[in-house]
Structure formats: C-alpha cells, structure tokens
Symmetry: C2
Subunit: 489 residues, 2 copies
Amino acid sequence: MEAVLGRVSLVAATGSRSVVVGDSKVKSGTGWFSGGSVVVLPVTAKLQRRERLYRSVAAKLATDNASASTSATMDAAVPRTGGLIEPDGGVLVDLHVPEQEKESKRAEAATLPRIQLAKVDLEWVHTVAEGWASPLTGFMRQSEYLQALHFNCLRLPDGSFVNMSLPIVLSIDDEKKESLAGVTAVTLVGPDGNDVAILRNIEIYKHNKEERIARTWGTTASGLPYVDEAIANAGNWLVGGDLEVLERIKYNDGLDHYRLSPAELRAEFERREADAVFAFQLRNPVHNGHALLMTDTRRRLLDMGYKNPILLLHPLGGYTKADDVPLEWRMKQHDEVLEAGVLDPATTVVAIFPSPMHYAGPTEVQWHAKARINAGADFYIVGRDPAGMGHPTAGRDLYDADHGKMVLSMAPGLERLNILPFRVAAYDKTQSQMAFFDPSRAQDFLFISGTKMRNFAKNNELPPEGFMCPGGWQVLVDYYQGLQKQESA
Amino acid sequence: MEAVLGRVSLVAATGSRSVVVGDSKVKSGTGWFSGGSVVVLPVTAKLQRRERLYRSVAAKLATDNASASTSATMDAAVPRTGGLIEPDGGVLVDLHVPEQEKESKRAEAATLPRIQLAKVDLEWVHTVAEGWASPLTGFMRQSEYLQALHFNCLRLPDGSFVNMSLPIVLSIDDEKKESLAGVTAVTLVGPDGNDVAILRNIEIYKHNKEERIARTWGTTASGLPYVDEAIANAGNWLVGGDLEVLERIKYNDGLDHYRLSPAELRAEFERREADAVFAFQLRNPVHNGHALLMTDTRRRLLDMGYKNPILLLHPLGGYTKADDVPLEWRMKQHDEVLEAGVLDPATTVVAIFPSPMHYAGPTEVQWHAKARINAGADFYIVGRDPAGMGHPTAGRDLYDADHGKMVLSMAPGLERLNILPFRVAAYDKTQSQMAFFDPSRAQDFLFISGTKMRNFAKNNELPPEGFMCPGGWQVLVDYYQGLQKQESA
C-alpha cells in the first residue's frame, strides 16, 4: 500500500497542471494503478521548474524521512528561483472594503436586514476575508457546500480543482429565513453588536445538520466539540453569499499583532528572501520533540540546496475545545521556546491561524494544509492523527492515526504542496533528550503523551530534563496551577 | 445557483482531458467562479469532436429540458461519427480467467486459504469482474477505499480522475484476519460452496463501519437496508486485492440472458449502429410517465441530428430492500411494456445491472452513472431523489430531492457524461394519460406515488386509464395478490 500511495502522490505532484500525451490507457487486468507510457508536458516554464522541484524535493525528503507519500526515485533537487507558491485559484482573495468605499458601504450596511454572528461565525468571516480559503469569496452557496461535502474540493472554471474539505457556512433559523424572502444583501453583525460585513447576492438553502456532521466527521456521535459549539443549536437554513468586510477583524486580546494575514505572511517571507516555506500547524505547547522535527526539516532542506528555508510556526487561534491549552498561554509558551533559542527566531515566523478547530481528522487536515498554501507555504509537516481526538462515546481514537497523512497525500487540489510526514520523536533516556524514535532500541525511549504532560504540570512535577525548555515549561505550570486554583475556588 | 451549477457542469465537459493556457486566474473579489479568458486545447481530434459534441448536446438538451445542469449557449450539435464513449481508464476491465488458464487457476485455487462470500459479496465480484467499475481490478485496497470515501473518485496515473463514489470492499472477521498473516492470495468461495475467484496481492486493513456508513450515507441511523444486509454484522477488517474470476457468474434464475456485460452491451450498441446511448436506471415498474420521458428523450436526440439513439433500459438486479418489487416480477413487467409497444424494441436494449443497491442517494447515483459509461452510455437520465428513500428513523426523506442531480453534475470523473435531469410526469386528467407536469394548470394533474400504485394493485383496483399498459399492470396485480396470499397464509 505504501508503494501504491507513493505512486498516487507522485502522480499528484504533476496531475492537475499537466496534459498527458501518448498511450495512457490502463492495461486490462494488470491492476488499475499501472498505466502505459505517459509523457508529461508542463504547461509553462515556471510550472516546469516548480513541478520538477516539487517532485525532486518530495522524493528527497521522502527518502530521508522514510515517508510513505512519495517513494519513487527522482531527478536531483532544484531549489526554486522564482517567487512563493501561488495561492489557490491564482490570486489571493482579499474581501476587505477599500478605504475609499468604507463610508458608503457602512451607510448601506446600516440600511440592510441584519444577521447576528456567533463567535465562531466571526472567526470564519475573518478567515475567509483574509484569503485563507482562496478562491472562496464568502460563505458557501449550495453548489460549493455540496462540492465540499461530497468531494472535499471545488472545481475552477478551467476544470482544475482546489481543495476545500470543510463546509464554510453561515446558519440562520426559520424566522430569519422567512424575514429574508426576496432580500439580496444582508449585514452581518458581530458578537459585540458592530456591523462587520455585507453579505451580497445571498442564497438560502437547507441545513441538514445530520448529513453535514456525518460527512464531515465520519460519525454522528454526540459530544463532538465543534458540533456542540456551532452546529447542534444552529438554524435549519444556511445562507451563502459574497463577503464585503467593513474593517479588519480584531480581538483586542493583546495577540492581534500575531494575526498576520496570508498577504502579510507572504510579504514577510519575501522580505526574508525565503526560497522554501515549511508550515507547522499546532494547537499544543511546543516540546523539544517538535523543535527537533522542525530544525531537522530545515537542515534537510538546506542539504537539498535551499539557501533560506523559513519555518511558519502556526498555532491555530480560533475555537478550540475546553481541555486544550488556551491561545494566550500557548503563545506565551511559544515565545519562551523562541527566546530559549530552541527554535531560531531568524528562520522562524510565528503567527496565529484564525480558523476555528473542527477536530475532524483527515477531513480537517486538508483544510489546515490548503490554507497554508494560500499563506505561501510549499511544505507542510503532518503528524500522527492530525486534527484527531478520542471518539466522544466509544473508547478509542476517532480516526485511524495514519489516515490523515494518507488522505493528505491523495487529496485533490493539494498536488502542489509537499507533504512531510512527521517522524516520531520520543524521550531518549540514554541521551536525556528528545530524539527520533529508533525501533531497534525501543526500550531506550519514553513516550510523553499530552495527558502525561498535563499531569506533570498539574502536580508541579518536572518532566524529564530535555523534554521542554524550562521557560516554556514554567508557562504550562502557571497555567495548570491557576486552573486548579479556579477549580478548587 | 442554477447559473453557477451550469458553469460547473460546463467546465466539467472539458475539464480533466484538456490543458488550459493563458490567463485563467480568478479575479480577486469578483466571485470565485468567474475566471479569466481560457483557451482549451483538445488533446486529440477525436477528443475535440467528442468534447464539442458533449458540450453542445448537453446545452441543447439542457435548454429543451429546462435543466440546471448546463445552461450556457453552445455551438450547434455535431453528432458523433466515431465509436462509443470510452470506458473509465480507457480500457474496459475484464477479470475473468482466460480459457487456457482455467485449469491451472482452478488447481491453484484449491490450494489457497479460503474466504466465504455472502450473496452481496458475490454480486460485487460479478460487477467488478465485468468491468462496471473500470478501471478497478478487484476489491479496494486502503488507498482506493480512502479515495472513494473522502473524494468519491480515484486518481489515475496521468493525474486525471475517474468517479468512484461507493467503497467496493470485502470484509473478514478477526479470526480470518489472523489466519491470513503472511498470505498473499486467497480463494473466494461462493454461497453455494464453489470456488469463484482468486484474490491476489491482498492487503488487509481496518473496517471502521461507523465512518464508512457516515461518509457513504450521510447518516448512521439504524435501519439502512444495505447496512443491515451487508455491513452491520460484517467483520472488522477489509481485504483488498486483484480479482481473477474462474467462471462467469450465473444465477440460474431464468434471467441470466438479461445479464449482459458492459462488453456485450457495447457490442450490441455497435451492432445496432447507435450514435447515442441513453441509460435509464430503475428498480421499479415502468409506467407510462417513464415511457413518455424515454421516448421524448429519443425524439429530442433525433431533433439534434442523431440518426440512431438507443435506450438502455437498465433495471438494477442485485440486492434490493424487502418492499421493492423483486427482480423477476419487474422483468416480467418490463417485457409487457415492450410487447405493448409502449417502448420500441427496435431502439431499446433491456438488460440487468448486476450491482447491489445501497439507497445512498447523491453518493450512489454517481456509481449508477459511472457504471453506465463503462457500458457505453453517453447520456444518463436522472430523476428526483435518485437512489433515495425515507429516513429510517426521522419522518422525512433521507436526501434532498435535488441533491442527486446537482451532485451528479459536479462529480469529478463524470465530465464526459451528459446528465439529463428528469422532467416530472404526472397523470393529466384532461387527456387521460401521463404527460409532463404543467405548473400553470396543476389542478389537471394527478401524482401517483409508488405507495399509491402498490395500494391500487394490492386492492386489485385499476389505476387511472393510461397510467400503465394493461399487461404490465396485470403483472403487478399478480405479484401483490400473491404476496397477500402468502401473508394471510
């Protein structure tokens, strides 16, 4: 299967942007993956350079990384000489109203029917407005919703696909739906009562919650965090349309300066003259195992001839479940990690990804990867059971730990992204530090789960030396101790 | 949305087989569907002809048919001069063992570990062996399973997609899985105890039933017929591999002569010199409303310049739920309809589609359409709520009645197929016959549901004159009367 996956992903690296000439028929009975001779004619020289690069890079890293995602032999690495990876659809979407139109749009907004946004809705307005979901230009209409739900991708006018695995939708109740009969534009009102955006050319369609949940999570078990937060009590209708956002979304929590838009991130990568950008999505504190992985990835990119690979350390900043470490504490912890020099500030950009978390495993990890393409990342590090969690009712993990990585390597619309499967790091007792797990001496390694880590911190015990930088660890201790005080109070 | 759908489907007609040159960027803020100028370079002249045809035909029919699926204006119809539509993957799969190898394969089969097939498993062996699922060459391995489950399509080595919306899988229990450690080939044993096939290069992987059901049906409610029949009590493991089928599957129910393979259907269409083949999937008796739709479709194809459009009347022959009319009675009814001349035998091919029924609505209708491409059909008639049923626990339809048609027009891998949305036919009391529903005089029409029809037959009442040919109606009366005798006995 690894070999097959390799071929699937290899094709992916050239697939949607190429034309195939000559006999590409599948020979009957020889197994459907085995094609005839295939000649790939790149569409443009730039694309040619980029595709050769992707394929060679992916192959090189795959070899180093014992990765399943691309195992074929490839021509030598050719670092990119051009700019950053193109956003999905070719142009980065920006849905903020231009300065000179703000006054008139505000005036118009004051006259339109209003829809009240919940906190998560506002996070989606923020995410879509900045172009993380490019080329999406608003909340999904039914045709986009159905493509996301059934195919995890959207078809562009040129017939190619962009990935889009999560429905990005806005729900309204029956009463609101009635009140909008014949209406074409509405004003979206933030939780604080301010006008946030105009939603234009709206389309209202049924919100079949059961079907949405089943197809997105692969279960309808009660207790899915995002479902409880944003779907269970939502209305029976969805309203799609094009967004015109009046002001940039701010949270005034002292972290807004971390909330860089895809355009700002791209500018920063260009300023640093990055010739490779590798993204690391996380919603947990960074321990030295993560750090090892990130520094090792950079080392290998350098070995391949890249001059200046930049790490995008990209904690998720939207809705997370109650037992995750809150954003502000995670950001403090990440600061300590950089101050301690565990990660090199000169080659690391720390920013907040504004999307809410679904905990939808293989379906959601595609969104996490796709959004980073739009921010300029051409490498994506994927771990074990990405965006996964325990099954809310059955006593097991909700998703197969390998499916996220596999689905990511197959996903339509992610062909241009190099998927870098996570190498398992654990605490090496013989070296008193985090190291890549070596099965040949398994007994030397100690696996420290999130739960184990939490318990250390709660009980103010120190984790093994070398597990996490002391400053970063202290942040967690402070957080969990404070939490216990609250609980006991 | 209709306009958008139109463009989606229109793009579909040229998508996966073309290369796009020039500026195909999506202009920021103009709505993601609006692309720039796009030049399509057909890959081959034959393809060029075919694509022009597809697009023009689809547009023409869409106009006649008030269809949502392709509404743009198009160049004039150009009937195909070449052969039938290509099967998915380019070559029709045939997994039957060649005559000269049968002896050796039988001998080998006798020596291999054995897996017992249930009735539905055998129906899948039959379906896959004849190439309905081309280019699939056996039961799915995990990489194919995951692509079907998450993307409803499989990626080919050339980067293009074929549609594959249902997992076609074989389950085994824990004990069997243990016993197959290290085994590479197994013999599949039919319900009657005969060796049916060798499954080669097997791969065993987890069978997460909940996830499979949720992603396939969009619900996990208990009472889904296929789930109760084939999944609920199935093993916790799936075994994929390449099929080598020892003998053609026969049922010896007097209907095997109707079970034409895709190759046999293609030969028949060629023999009749069909220049268009339109498929009608059904699992119910044919009333005059269906007949009207089929004859009207042929008329319109003739108007467009086709010389000899052939109808494939294609009842599903595999597993169906208990309250559907059994296959043998449906076939009797279809015979009567042809004998009565309601459908013209000269331009109609009646055959049995061997697949089992999932009742999975928008997900399953893609399979129904895809399989017919492999049998040579380039037009597919889709009705209201295809492959749908009532929700097993909630008091509503399981699927939105329009989603099947919409999803079909968007589905990756179905670009080459012309989707013909069903026009609603009802009993016109002013003409005492079935006619296309005219909303401007709704009061003149009588809708006769399947339930209503069943009740007429059960109570030996005649339906309105002109609803169904008398011979066909008598078959239903005989069936339901016999059923009641059984029940009362």
